[in-house]
Amino acid sequence: MDRAMGGAPAVLTGSAVRRWVEKSAKVLAENRAYLTDLDSPIGDADHGNNMDRGYKAVLEKLPESDDIGELLKAVAMALISKVGGAAGPLYGTLFLQASKPLTGVREMDGAALAQFFDDAVAGVKMRGRSDAGMKTMLDTLIPAAEAFRQANGDGDDLAAALRAAVDAAEAGMKATIPMRAQRGRASYLGERSIGHQDPGATSSYLILQALADVVAEAP
């Protein structure tokens, strides 16, 4: 991995993407019960199982390639077919949309990653017919994408920009607590969805944090 002055990587390589996926799988497995608990008061208590099952399938299907587009597409297809709940098509579309411009790309710089986040957000919005403030994963993803673009524009290196993105993601995730759900199963509860953190927003946060960690720990 190329290094900028401070020793942090300047680009995200295909092998780093693979490590991100592996790390995500590990973190989601560790947080399986937590995510499912979050999904019980306002959903059907399966989000942790869904994500864990999905990422386990991803690990099996992940190609040995360094082609980021190919990797992300494999992630998308495995999630689409294995997650089962709403999160399947949503995360599937996220990765699928974001993978499209990356076919044949083996490393991404800050600008490419900013584009990646924007595409990811657009994919979820399209699939879910949803937007910020509806108590969904978008409440994590949108501020994260914006924070990343900002930090990258300010000249931060990849690791620092991802830190900023994760901080924004965390704030966004917590901000879902007082929201009233307007999409997904939680929306059936109306007012009663208030006061609970959204499970999808939480899994998105964990996945982003896995990316930041992988880049920070990069060899």
């Binding site: 089962g84 098509p89 599937g92 579309t93």
Partner: protein
């Protein structure tokens, strides 16, 4: 042809819906089921890739409609559409319609050859009401009326057939259900036809444009003549017994089925479910009327709650639901709003308005074909009458009047029994009705005599005539003679004394005067009986017949369904052991879907354990479900109709294998479940000493044992005099079985009708029987009788009777034994009619 893809969270649901749609469409429509996900533990969910494959499987260049159930199913369906190639995508449509109705409507329309637009429109309209779909103005064209005679009416397959036939004609064709007063519906639309609720014997009017009319009418005639391809015609409607009869009965004896024991004398009152006519009284103060109405609703609810609490433990959770349904009617916002509106607008009294609202609402339900909804219409009437009586200040018929009354119903409903709380009602009788109906089971626990199925003559008995109800023998006497009344009063006096004494001892254990204790158990054939069992004083369930689970349905219940039910029962028993007998299908109990060959001698045929071992999947499923239920409370497993040790070993082997599997899977179950056998084949009784070392208990089934030992078919009236469990041959086999059990240190019970017969108690006690399992109704009396016995005397009696030459001699010996013994002259044993020995099956 247009194809359909069904996307559901549940694979079972999508498969089942495909099956239903296949059955309803006359021409094969390509339908793919894409439900569930590939996860054995959590199979609920949707999988976009599976949907994608389903689209490709049936697509093949033609249009595809996708139907989805809830939330993420739609997301995944849309995901799948996005994953298609552009040309495929252009032919694929997501159809936003209610899943079941939408798929069925689409399938029928596709089979009828409709174009894409029509199919989409019909599918989307699937949940709308007929009036909206068709416009309610009287249609124009030539009209003719027809009467529908097939069993299903225009539902399901016949409706589909009808729609397909109508689609062959041009122009606007309408159907009007004249009988039910439905608005005109589009006869080419499956929804229009189904929502017209045409059932057997309804008259429909067909309206068609003049050029097509005669061909349309001919087609309808043809469909009716060929019964829409159904086999059966509907039976003629049963005319209600409460319609005025042309004759009146003023004296005589009527026979029915005894449901609840006891005697009563009272004047007969016929209960009609008709709403009374009420004159609309003008009022100057509608708000005061509304206040009165609200107070009546509140009072009615208080009444219901008091009923529920008063007899608390008599009601099972199922029964409680009946009350809940009634309370729901009281709280129905629509009926409430309509009353308020109408009282204000018309300024008339609340009772007149309420009567009309109740009448209309119940008619709407009564017109539906779903039996549950129809029953709801009856609830509305029941509750409507209750409120009406409160509003008018007249007592309800069932609470009515002075003096002791006997109520006569056409057909008793469970709610009639549950809401019966008038002290002056001394007896019940019905025109129709069976012992094993839910109402029958409930009524059998009443403290007043009940006789069912007295027949049409009952309805002809003059109102207020004096009748005597003998619930012990199932007899209703109209205008009884003085002498008969005196006789009855004597019997009743003794009976009531016995009853009170029996009630007092039923919760105690059955112990003889000299201190010998036995277990008294209940036989159970359906979970409906749990309430009655709980209050009977039973120490355990000695025989749980599981056949009911398999009967009257189209496929065997799977393990989960069985497990859920067994668990509910075990939990409902609160620690009392449950002896579950594996299913005994065959003999006189047949099950359609098992597709068994007819047998010349079914009782000597392929039934009980023999059948189970030959079709082991059914047995394994049941054993596994029973074992899992044993994690929630004590369960015993019992095999029926065992004739040799090999059979038992084979069954035990299967059980052990299932235990191993459950162990591997980490499922919870009681590793020490007792496993026993029914001793009902003479061979088993004769070799009881060989069987005893390998089983945990015996349970003697006297009904089958008797018919096999005496070669007397218990269902053949010509040999009924021979069918008698008191025959010394039967008693000797019982003796042999109990001895063999005792030698091997196991207990022996009895679950045939003999166990509950008080005449048998001393002999069986003398022979050493450990457990008596009977109809829960008989338990209090049994426990009472038992207290007067002495083990030492019973042993001597048993020794004597084994050597007697005939059943008659045995009965006489026991009777004189009891006569010499009985502290109290109850006349009770004298009333033992032998009926319970002879009818029914172990």
């Amino acid at each position: 042809m247009i194809g359909i893809v069904i996307v559901s969270h549940s694979r079972k649901l999508s498969d089942g819906l495909k099956e239903l749609a296949d059955a309803m469409s006359q021409a094969p429509v390509p339908i793919a089921s894409a439900g569930g996900i590939d996860d054995l533990e959590e199979p609920l969910g949707t999988d976009a890739v599976r949907v994608l494959e389903a689209i490709r499987e049936i697509g093949n260049g033609t249009a595809v409609l996708i139907f989805a159930d809830i939330g993420s199913a739609r997301l995944n369906a849309e995901m799948a559409i996005d994953l298609l190639e552009p040309d495929e995508r252009a032919r694929t449509h997501f159809c936003d319609a209610p899943l079941v109705e939408g798929v069925l409507a689409a399938a029928v329309q596709i089979a009828a050859g409709s174009d894409l637009q029509t199919v989409l429109r019909e599918a989307k309209a699937a949940a709308q009401v007929v009036g909206e779909a068709a416009g309610s103005k009287e249609p124009e064209g030539l009209a003719r009326e027809f009467t529908i005679r097939n069993r299903l009416g225009l539902h399901a397959r016949p409706a589909a057939k009808f729609v397909q036939a109508m689609n062959a004609f041009a122009g606007d064709i309408r159907l009007v259900n004249v009988t039910k007063g439905k608005p005109a519906a589009n006869a080419k639309s499956i929804n229009g036809v189904m929502l017209s609720e045409v059932s057997a014997h309804d008259t429909i009017r067909m309206v068609a444009p003049p050029p097509e009319a005669s061909a349309v009418f001919a087609a309808v005639e043809e469909l009716i003549a060929t019964n829409f391809g159904e086999d059966e015609l509907a039976p003629m409607p049963r005319t209600s017994a409460s319609v005025p009869q042309d004759r009146t009965i003023t004296s005589g004896i009527l026979k029915g089925i005894p449901i609840s024991k006891g005697y009563a004398l009272g004047s007969i009152r016929h209960i009609s479910r008709a709403l009374p006519e009420i004159a609309a009284r003008q009022t100057a103060d509608p708000e005061a009327e509304i206040a009165r109405f609200e107070a009546a609703l509140a009072d009615a609810e208080t009444e219901l709650r008091q009923l529920l609490e008063a007899e608390d433990n008599r009601f099972s959770s199922y029964d409680r639901k009946i009350f809940e349904a009634h309370v729901e009617v009281l709280r129905d916002p629509e009926m409430y709003e309509r009353v308020l509106k109408s009282v204000r607008a018309r300024r008339i009294c609340a009772e007149a308005v309420w009567r009309d609202v109740v009448a209309e609402t119940s008619q709407t339900y009564a017109a539906l074909s779903d039996p549950l909804l129809r029953a709801r219409g009856e609830d509305v009437i029941d509750v409507g009458l209750r409120v009406l009586h409160l509003l008018t200040g007249t007592p309800s018929e069932t609470h009515a009047g002075q003096g002791e009354v006997v109520l006569a119903f056409d057909d008793l409903r469970p709610s009639d029994v549950l809401t019966l709380n008038a002290d002056n009602v001394v007896g019940l009788c019905t025109v129709f009705g069976g012992k094993t109906s839910h109402a029958g089971i409930l009524a059998s626990s009443l403290k007043i005599p009940v006789v069912f199925a007295v027949g049409r003559d009952l309805a002809a008995v003059a109102e207020n005539a004096e009748v005597m109800v003998d619930g012990t023998n199932g007899i209703v006497t109209v205008a009884p003679e003085r002498e008969a009344i005196v006789q009855m009063e004597t019997a009743q006096f003794a009976w009531e004394r016995r009853l009170a004494a029996a009630e007092a001892v039923k919760k105690l254990s059955a112990v003889t005067a000299d201190g010998h204790a036995v277990r008294v158990a209940a036989n159970m054939a359906s979970p409906d009986e749990l309430g009655a069992i709980a209050s009977s004083g039973a120490d355990e369930i000695g025989l749980f017949r599981t056949e009911f689970l398999f009967m009257r349905r189209s496929a065997a219940p799977d393990e989960e369904e069985q497990y859920a039910l067994y668990r509910r029962i075990v939990q409902g028993l609160g620690g009392l052991p449950l002896t579950a007998r594996t299913m005994d299908i065959g003999g006189d109990k047949q099950v359609a879907y098992m597709d068994r060959p007819p047998e010349a001698n079914p009782n000597l045929g392929w039934r009980g354990l023999r059948y189970s071992l030959d079709v082991p999947e059914l047995l394994d499923t049941q054993l596994s479900a029973l074992l899992r239920a044993s994690a929630h409370g004590p369960v015993r497993i019992m095999f029926p109709l065992v004739s040799s040790l090999d059979e038992f070993r084979a069954a035990r082997h299967r059980l052990d294998r299932i235990k191993e599997r459950l162990d591997r899977e980490g499922a919870a179950f009681d590793k020490n479940v007792e496993v026993g056998i029914m001793v009902e084949v003479p061979a088993a009784a004769l070799t009881a000493d060989v069987l005893a070392p390998e089983v945990d208990f015996f349970s003697i089934g006297t009904n089958d044992l008797t018919q096999y030992v005496l070669a007397a078919d218990r269902a053949n009236p010509k040999v009924q005099n021979l069918f008698d469990p008191f025959h010394p041959a039967v008693l000797r086999l019982i003796d042999r079985t109990i001895r063999a059990g005792r030698d091997s240190g196991i207990w022996t019970g009895m679950c045939g009708a003999m166990a509950g017969n008080p005449l048998a108690a001393p002999v069986l006690t003398g022979l050493g029987l450990d457990e008596f399992s009977m109809n829960p109704r008989d338990i209090p009396e049994f426990k009472l009788i038992y207290r007067d016995l002495s083990l030492a005397d019973c042993r001597a009696l048993a020794d004597d009777v084994l050597r007697l030459p005939s059943a008659g001699a045995v009965r006489d010996a026991i009777q004189s034994f009891l006569d010499g013994h009985s502290v109290e002259d109850s006349g009770f044993v004298g009333h033992e009619s032998g009926e319970s020995d002879r009818i029914g099956r172990d």
